[in-house]
Every structure is written in structure tokens, then in C-alpha cells.
């Protein structure tokens, strides 16, 4: 009785090992199925919802939708965003708060998307760019609004 | 002096020097390693005499088996990494005296025995050794062979008895799982 169990055990072990070896061999003899992407040569396909960095959207007239309300700055858990505001004079002669510099520190951002959700005018969004390496970490502190850009008319 | 003789003296010097070092070093692991080199030297001497079978057995049994066991025992002893204290002078003196006495005794015996000179070539082939081992007539070693095998069997049974767990005795599962 013991002997039968012993022999069964040995054969069961050999069989299960053979199943495992067949699996690896099947991969070995089909080198075409390799899933490695050779990154700098082959660009990976990035999903649209991928969060790479925060961008401030500008249209063709170099206008953006940011009112400088600092809702994103308040929403950010890490203090990644710093909004510097200025006062513009409207054509009617009234003083109005407007965006001066949108400072974004990529090194501190965790891509949590809270700033995008907090924005009342949908001025910012998450971009899919992912190659952020630089030689100087100061370059990771970015100014998101373009030079000379202004707020799109009609956005309050 | 021919190359043959130079080889002999080289091997002999290796055996003696490493043997001396193995008893004088104060680190126990090094002592085991010197012993190992000494035993390898003895195997080399057998190769020099062209009795390859004995040489291979010397390596397999002494170097591969016994020295490994000694090293394991050294690993398991406490404070085996420290240097051992110097032996008291009286002990050193008696050790030297007994070694000298042993050496003198061996030399005396070797000098007094007349080694017969034989001209025929020694046939130390494996098949010859095997046949002699199982031969019951003259020049046969069947009886010693069997006696040694029974001795080894008894030793093996003894090992199993010592290592065997008492079937009634249960291992505390808690200790194994949560040390």
C-alpha cells in the first residue's frame, strides 16, 4: 500500500514537472511572440486617460481659460501648483484679477488629478507626455502659461 | 636528481609543512584547511606511485568526506572564529616530546625492516582489486570485506535509531509556526 502511494507520488511529480517544462519550451520555440518593446525605437501606445503632467490649454489665439481663482492650488495635496496673480484693467476701466504665472512643480506632482477636477473653467488637463527626465531638477519647475497669453474673452 | 625524485621531495615537503602548520596554527578552521592540503599531498604521492585507484579513494574518502565533516563540526562549534589561547608550556613540551618519540620509533622500525625488492610491475588495476576483494582463497579479502560491510551496516542502523523521532512524541506545532 505504501509502495503504491510512493510510486504514484513519483509519477505525479514527474508529470507535473513535465507540464511546466512544456509550457516554457512552448515559449522558447516561438520567439515571434516576444512582448518586449524596445523603447527608444518602438514607441509604446499610451492610453488617453494616462496622466503624465498637468498642462494649461491654449488655443490658436494664445488664449487660455484660467481666471487665476487658485482653486487648483487649494485642491493640490502636495503644494505642487502656485498661482501668481496680477490685476488687469478691463476696457471699462475696472480692475480685474488675472493670471500672471502658473507655476507647476513636476517633481512634487503625484498625478492625482484633483486640480483638474477642481478647476471651474476646465482650463487645465492631464497630458500623456511621459519623458520628463532632465539633467537639472530646476527645469522641473515649469511655467505653464505661455509668454504673452491672456484669458479668453467670455470666461468668468 | 631526476624530475621523478624532485616531484617526490616536493610532495613530501608539502605533506610535512602543511601537517606541521595544521597542528601549530591557532585558528581551528585554518587547521582543518592545512589538514586538507596535507591529505591532498598524500593523494598526490599515490598518483606519483601510479596507484590511481588508491589515490582517487584517498581524495573521495578523506578530502571529500572526512575533511568536509570536520569543517561542518568546526562551523557548529561556538567561538570557532576566535584564536585559541596559547597552550601552556608544559603541554607544548610534552606534545613535542611525544611527537619526537613517535618519529624516532617509526624511523627505527623503517630502518630495521628489510624491504624486499621486487622487479615485476605492480598491477593495481580496478578489476584486480575487485577480484581480490571478493576472492575467498589465497590473497582473497572476502572475509574482511564482509566484516567491514557489517560494521558499516551496524553504524548506519545506529545512526537511524539516533535520528529517528519517537512516534508517540508530537512536535509542538506552535513552536514551528511561530518561533
Amino acid at each position: 500500500m505504501f509502495l503504491i502511494k510512493y510510486i504514484k507520488e513519483v509519477f505525479g511529480a514527474v508529470k507535473s514537472l513535465a507540464i511546466g517544462m512544456r509550457r516554457t519550451l512552448s515559449y522558447f520555440v516561438r520567439p515571434k511572440e516576444i512582448i518586449t518593446q524596445q523603447y527608444p525605437d518602438e514607441r509604446p501606445v499610451i492610453a488617453e486617460r494616462f496622466r503624465g503632467e498637468v498642462v494649461l490649454m491654449h488655443d490658436e489665439n494664445n488664449e487660455h481659460a484660467c481666471t487665476g481663482c487658485t482653486a487648483c492650488e487649494l485642491a493640490c495635496p502636495n503644494g505642487t501648483i502656485k498661482i501668481v496673480t496680477k490685476f488687469d484693467t478691463t476696457p471699462e476701466g475696472k480692475k480685474k484679477k488675472a493670471l500672471d504665472t502658473f507655476v507647476y512643480r513636476l517633481e512634487m506632482c503625484t498625478m492625482c488629478n484633483l486640480c483638474v477636477e477642481a478647476c471651474p473653467t476646465s482650463a487645465i488637463k492631464m497630458d500623456t507626455a511621459y519623458e520628463h527626465s532632465v539633467f537639472d531638477r530646476n527645469k522641473l519647475t515649469k511655467k505653464l502659461n505661455n509668454e504673452g497669453s491672456k484669458i479668453r474673452s467670455g470666461v468668468e | 636528481m631526476t624530475a621523478y625524485q624532485i616531484t617526490f621531495y616536493g610532495i613530501a615537503a608539502l605533506i610535512l609543512v602543511t601537517g606541521f602548520l595544521s597542528v601549530t596554527t591557532r585558528k581551528i578552521f585554518r587547521s582543518a584547511i592545512w589538514l586538507l592540503l596535507s591529505l591532498i599531498g598524500v593523494a598526490g604521492l599515490y598518483f606519483w606511485m601510479e596507484v590511481e585507484f588508491i589515490a582517487a579513494v584517498q581524495i573521495a574518502v578523506y578530502v571529500g568526506g572526512i575533511v568536509v565533516l570536520i569543517i561542518f563540526a568546526v562551523f557548529l562549534t561556538q567561538q570557532s572564529g576566535n584564536e585559541m589561547p596559547k597552550a601552556p608550556p608544559a603541554r607544548t613540551l610534552f606534545a613535542v616530546l611525544s611527537a619526537l618519540f613517535g618519529m624516532a620509533f617509526s624511523i627505527y622500525i623503517i630502518c630495521n625492516i628489510k624491504f624486499p625488492v621486487r622487479n615485476e610491475v605492480l598491477d593495481a588495476s580496478v578489476s584486480k582489486i575487485g577480484t581480490a576483494m571478493l576472492h575467498t582463497g589465497k590473497d582473497g579479502y572476502a572475509l574482511p570485506f564482509e566484516v567491514v560491510s557489517i560494521l558499516l551496516l551496524a553504524a548506519m542502523v545506529g545512526c537511524i535509531v539516533i535520528a529517528m523521532k519517537n512516534p508517540g512524541e508530537k512536535i509542538d506545532e506552535k513552536i514551528i509556526n511561530h518561533p
Binding site: - | I40, E52, A56, I59, A60, V63, V68
Partner: protein, 358 residues
């Protein structure tokens, strides 16, 4: 026909014309040493690359592919990196033994090369106890590992060395028994005789099922004796960082690494010689036409082909099976492999005495 045997003989004759016999021996020893060292270097480069490529294909990866065409010079680059690295010695290490250990492991691997027949008549030393010599000398390599583990003054190294010692000492038994099976069948311990006895078919086919069982046990025991996964308890990365060579760096580490691969080559070469006929071409009984065609392939190609096939099988094991625990490892040897190989030895004896093999 072109053969290595002729080259060896003609070189010997040429040297004998030019020099005295003593000088000839000296020159030939130097030539053999140079050949052995260059074989080691090439083996190290080729086997490491082969391992990385095989592992990557089995894991649906590409493996090294940047240095040289298809990554062929990757190991050369690695070697250069290892040579320029600093060799460090830990504090309180036993310096003498620490430096001696990698050389001891390497020397044992070199001595094991001596009785291997690479082709017909192309063998360093056709010693009359070839198989016994190999199994005796291979047991010395464990001492190098124990020495390295002890002298590093590191508990991981020591644990790795002790595991390795227990493993090698126990698996030597079943490896020895499976080798003995072939010795019984061929009736000789000499490598050249064992190969000649396979002129009409390899022992793997001629010896029926007992030879097959012996072959499987030999492969398992050889994998364990060379400390390779799934038996890499000695250097289990996830448990012991690197086991006995944790503290080694630079060229001394490279020596351990090289010795591991050379040992793999040697055990596979022994397996190929004993079970697959070494340099003997594939022959089937008295089928003369088939045998004649096979004879056109030179012996050294057969030898290296068979050896690399066995090496591939060992790599296949490594990248398929998970590592065993130390108690499972010893269970496998003492409760399964050893009893099976003992009974198998009995079966082989019955087959050999009653002449059932072809």
C-alpha cells in the same frame, strides 16, 4: 580525413624531432594549459550569453541585444567591467583563505577537465580510473565553497556555504550511483573504453528503462551539485543575497561565476560521454549506410552538440522550476532519488548480467 587525432600526433612528432623528450613534455604541458585556459574563457563568455538568451526567450523577453550584433558581445563587455572593478576584502575576514577560495574552486574545475575526451584521441589524460577520478575530485570543490563562506565573516555567506555543503555531499551519492549504472553496463571505468562500448548505439538507448532512469537521476543530481536553480540554495538571492560569494567583488567574483559555468559544462560533458556516447556519432546497430553518413560529422561537433544539449536542459530546468526549500531538497535526495537509484542499480546489474542490452 581531417581529424584532431592526426593533428595531435603530427605535433607530437614535430616536437620530438626538434627537442629532447623532457623538453617536449614541458612544451606540450604549456600548450595543453593554454588550450584549457582559452577553453575556459570562451566557455564563460558563451555559456553566460546562452543562459541569458535562453532565459529571456523562455520568459517571452528579448534578452541582451544592444552590444554587438544581436547582443553577442554583451558578456565581453561584462568581463571588461568585472576586470576594472575594485576587489574588496571585508573587515575581520580571514584574508588568506578569502583570497585562496576562488582559486581553489577554479583549480578543481581545471583538474576535472583532464580526463574528458573531446574527440577521438583528443584527451589530456586517459587515466584508467577516469570516472572514479572525476567523482572523487569533484567532491573537493565543496571545500572551496565552505572556505569562501567561512572566511567572508558574513552570516549570509556562512549559511549559504553550509547549505551548499549539505547539498553537494548528499547529491554526490545519487550522482555516483547513476554513473555506476553505466560503469556496470560498459564494464570499464576508463572514458575511452566507455565511449568505444557505445559504437553500436548510446547507452541511453541500449540500456532500456534502467539507463533512462539513471540518466534522469544523473541530470537532477548534476543540477544540484552545480548549485543551479531549482537547487540554488547556496546563493538563493532572495534569502541570502548571494550566499557564499556575497562579499566577493571584481575578478574574484568573476572566478566563482566562471567556475559555476565551467562546472556545468563539465558535468554535462560527463553526462554526454556516459549516456550519449561522447564524441561517438549516432550509430544504430549494424545499419552501415546510416552509420557511414553519421561518421562524416567530426567527433568534436558531436561532443559539443551533445554537451550543449544537456546544458540547455539544465537551463530549461532553471527557468521553469521554483527553488526548493532546504528540507524539500534533502527529502528529494534521501527519500526519493537515493532509494530509486539503489533499486535501479540492481536492475542495471540484472540487465548487464543477463545480457539484455543490445
Amino acid at each position: 580525413m581531417w581529424s584532431l587525432n592526426e593533428i595531435v600526433k603530427s605535433t607530437d612528432l614535430k616536437l620530438n624531432e626538434l627537442f629532447k623528450p623532457g623538453m617536449v613534455f614541458f612544451i606540450e604541458a604549456i600548450i595543453v594549459a593554454l588550450l584549457a585556459i582559452s577553453l575556459f574563457a570562451i566557455l564563460g563568455l558563451v555559456l553566460v550569453l546562452m543562459e541569458r538568451k535562453v532565459s529571456s526567450f523562455m520568459q517571452v523577453r528579448l534578452g541582451p541585444n544592444r552590444v554587438g550584433p544581436k547582443g553577442m558581445f554583451q558578456t565581453v563587455a561584462d568581463t571588461i567591467k568585472l576586470i576594472v572593478k575594485e576587489g574588496m576584502t571585508p573587515d575581520n575576514a580571514d584574508r588568506f583563505l578569502f583570497h585562496l577560495a576562488p582559486f581553489l574552486v577554479m583549480i578543481v574545475a581545471m583538474i576535472l577537465l583532464a580526463p574528458l575526451p573531446f574527440a577521438n584521441g583528443f584527451q589530456i589524460w586517459d587515466i584508467n580510473i577516469g570516472v572514479l577520478f572525476v567523482s572523487a575530485v569533484s567532491s573537493v570543490s565543496v571545500i572551496g565553497i565552505l572556505m569562501a563562506g567561512w572566511s567572508s565573516n558574513n552570516k549570509y555567506s556562512l549559511l549559504g556555504a553550509m547549505r551548499s555543503g549539505a547539498q553537494i555531499v548528499s547529491y554526490e551519492l545519487s550522482a555516483g550511483f547513476s554513473i555506476l549504472a553505466i560503469v556496470i553496463l560498459s564494464g570499464s571505468l576508463t572514458f575511452s573504453d566507455i565511449i568505444q562500448s557505445q559504437a553500436n548505439g548510446w547507452w541511453l538507448f541500449k540500456g532500456h528503462i534502467p539507463a533512462l532512469i539513471a540518466f534522469v537521476i544523473f541530470i537532477i543530481a548534476a543540477t544540484a551539485e552545480t548549485n543551479r536553480a531549482p537547487f540554488d540554495m547556496a546563493e538563493a538571492e532572495s534569502e541570502l543575497t548571494a550566499g557564499f560569494h556575497t562579499e566577493y567583488s571584481g575578478m574574484k567574483f568573476a572566478l566563482f561565476f566562471l567556475a559555476e559555468y565551467v562546472n556545468v559544462f563539465i558535468v554535462c560533458a560527463i553526462g554526454a560521454t556516459l549516456f550519449l556516447g561522447g564524441w561517438m556519432p549516432l550509430h544504430f546497430g549494424d545499419n552501415t549506410t546510416f552509420n557511414h553518413v553519421m561518421d562524416y560529422i567530426p567527433g568534436i561537433v558531436w561532443f559539443f552538440g551533445k554537451t550543449f544539449f544537456l546544458i540547455f536542459i539544465m537551463m530549461w530546468f532553471r527557468w521553469t522550476f521554483p527553488r526548493l526549500r532546504i528540507d524539500q531538497l534533502l527529502n528529494l535526495e534521501w527519500k526519493y532519488l537515493l532509494p530509486i537509484s539503489l533499486i535501479n542499480l540492481l536492475l542495471v546489474t540484472v540487465v548487464a548480467i543477463s545480457g539484455w542490452h543490445f
